[in-house]
Symmetry: C2
Subunit: 361 residues, 2 copies
């Protein structure tokens, strides 16, 4: 068992990383305050793990909401199903919500917990690699809007995060690769040593070697916990976690949610951010090339979709949250493991990089 | 000009109370951080005051959302209109929302501000008496659900509150009376001296004497600020502000939002809470009678609707946020100006009080 603490004062919480943790209620039942529990999951994950989870909750008053799987359903309208279920079962302020699923379920369940009766407690049980290493940690919750990703949401920290490495065995190859995009991100933005370790072990990781995966999840959560503890509400440094995300969100929005997985869009967006860093002469070309090569070895796309044009990119990026009074703020690299948040890249230079990457004029 | 400060540490903010403040941008423009402003109002208030407000914002980049008037429209679906407008106009994290309207507009605009891009700033300009003395102060925001009032929301404090007493002139008599329900509440729960002052001045207040109204709004905001500063997120004492509200929310939900105004339902609910306090022998009957008489002098209903039965009341009250693991928590009086939050009233005794008030079995 590898444990971490995310240090946020009175909102601090533990992250437990181990195989089989889902069935170890003795470890985590104490993080449920009252008698009412509402499990939020989706129709892919529920058939696999819901029964195991409920077996641990036999002494609680449990209800469940099974959402349709996929980013396309991460909307306010679908979120209402959670509120409907909570109210129909008379859940009150002492209820605890449990997110059993990937990033979409975690973001929606967390946002429901943030808003239900103006805030109730919740627990994250991430079932995808991406959710384990990124979205389940740090308290960002929310839903998408047709005009932009994660535009409606809240900061709401869970009581604990349970990363059960066993559940990664049922993940599809495509979802596993998508999670690797965020794993590689931590190496690029803040942990050069980890990046080197990933380069050495990428074959074993892609073969889902249990020891290697455990180490990778731990290192990612450790990095994320450090960054979030410094800047919970993303006033500054936390924004480095968004490497590739402003380009990536534009891709996800343009292509329709779910057609490109979040991790795939982040991978292509990261390649663009690396190219832009090189174009500004902030990053050595060979470092950018190593980043792109590792993404490719993880089975990820490193080129933007062929049907987007420059105007579409710029317009959608302009709607991203990383805009302050008209200036586009981007995460770029100034070295391996060294990211900066900057407004210095002009529209002209971003356009050049998009064109060079094959985006049409 | 009467000013108050709501003391919440780094979330502290001023409440300005004066006639004509809407047109005094020099006073409040400094509470708008960036260049983008989004005004949220409704189709009753906008024709009266939107132009005056916009005249003060000529140097800002302003957009507006005009919602349909009324509690029936305080829903997640209508809230989406605010997000649609913000995104269509590329508003980013540095935008400031302004609520120009009564309690419904304030609650919805505040909740939109709490959720848009995980939280932006906002200003409250309450245009009803109820919003001035109660809902605009203290940071409670949210929308209704078909199964319960204010069930989806957030605590999100405004940058400032502007109470322009001139706008009360255009309020309908019915809306004015509804606001008086909350005014009288403060006397009952925490300010016996103010209650006596209200008894002496009720005729002048109902005639909307400007001096008296100014004093009343100030005293209410002062009381509310004191209570909220002690307990921002309603872990304890803040709940006394809900006198009559658990009964009242049941009435509003049963009758359909907007058929009984919130203040009307609170008045009838307060009469029930007073009767229950007497029934438990916690309150002298003559004090309860004074409370009921003052509500009646303010033109308010003091009896529950004739078409509700006891089961309906109990079921809807059980869904209220004032329930903790199955125990119904109610605000009751133990003296004039002395409220307690208690779970001691049994279902049997609540039933007796409802039957005695004419609710059918």
């Amino acid at each position: 068992m590898k444990n971490l603490e995310l240090d946020l004062g009175e909102r601090s919480y533990p992250i437990f990383i181990a195989p089989g943790i889902l069935a170890d209620g003795a470890l985590w039942l104490k993080y449920i305050a009252g008698s009412q529990v509402c499990i939020v999951s989706n129709d892919t994950i529920a058939p696999l793990y819901l029964a195991d989870l409920k077996a641990q909750l036999s002494e609680k008053n449990v209800c469940e909401v099974i959402l349709p799987d996929g980013e396309a359903h991460k909307t306010l309208a679908v979120l209402e199903q959670v509120f409907d279920t909570l109210l129909a079962n008379n859940h009150n302020r002492s209820t605890t919500l449990i997110a059993l699923g990937g990033g979409v379920v975690g973001d929606m369940c967390g946002f429901a917990a943030a808003c239900y009766q103006r805030g109730v407690q919740f627990i994250q049980i991430p079932t995808s690699l991406l959710a384990m290493v990124d979205s389940s940690v740090g308290g960002k919750t929310g839903v998408n809007h047709p005009l932009g990703k994660n535009m409606i949401g809240a900061f709401h920290q869970p009581n604990c995060v349970l990363a059960d490495l066993n559940v990664l065995k049922t993940l599809s190859d495509r979802e596993f690769s998508a999670g690797m995009a965020e794993v590689i991100k931590y190496g690029l933005i803040c942990d050069a040593e980890f990046f080197g370790w990933l380069e050495q072990n990428i074959a074993g990781l892609m073969a889902r070697d249990a020891e290697l995966l455990s180490e990778a999840v731990y290192r990612c959560c450790e990095n994320k916990a450090t960054v979030v503890a410094e800047d919970e509400r993303e006033g500054g440094r936390r924004a480095i976690l968004n490497l590739g995300h402003t380009f990536g969100h534009a891709i996800e929005t343009a292509e329709g949610y779910g057609n490109w997985l979040h991790g795939e869009a982040v991978a292509a967006g990261t390649a663009l951010a690396l190219a832009l860093s090189v174009k500004l002469a902030w990053l050595a070309p060979d470092v950018a090339a190593r980043g792109v090569a590792l993404l490719e070895q993880a089975g990820l796309p490193v080129e933007p979709p062929s049907n987007m044009n420059v105007d579409q990119f710029l317009q959608l990026m302009g709607r991203d949250k990383k805009v302050v009074d008209g200036r586009l703020r981007l995460v770029l690299l100034v070295g391996l493991g060294e990211a900066v948040v900057t407004s210095e890249a002009s529209i002209e230079i971003i356009t050049e990089v998009l064109l060079a990457a094959g985006v049409s004029a």
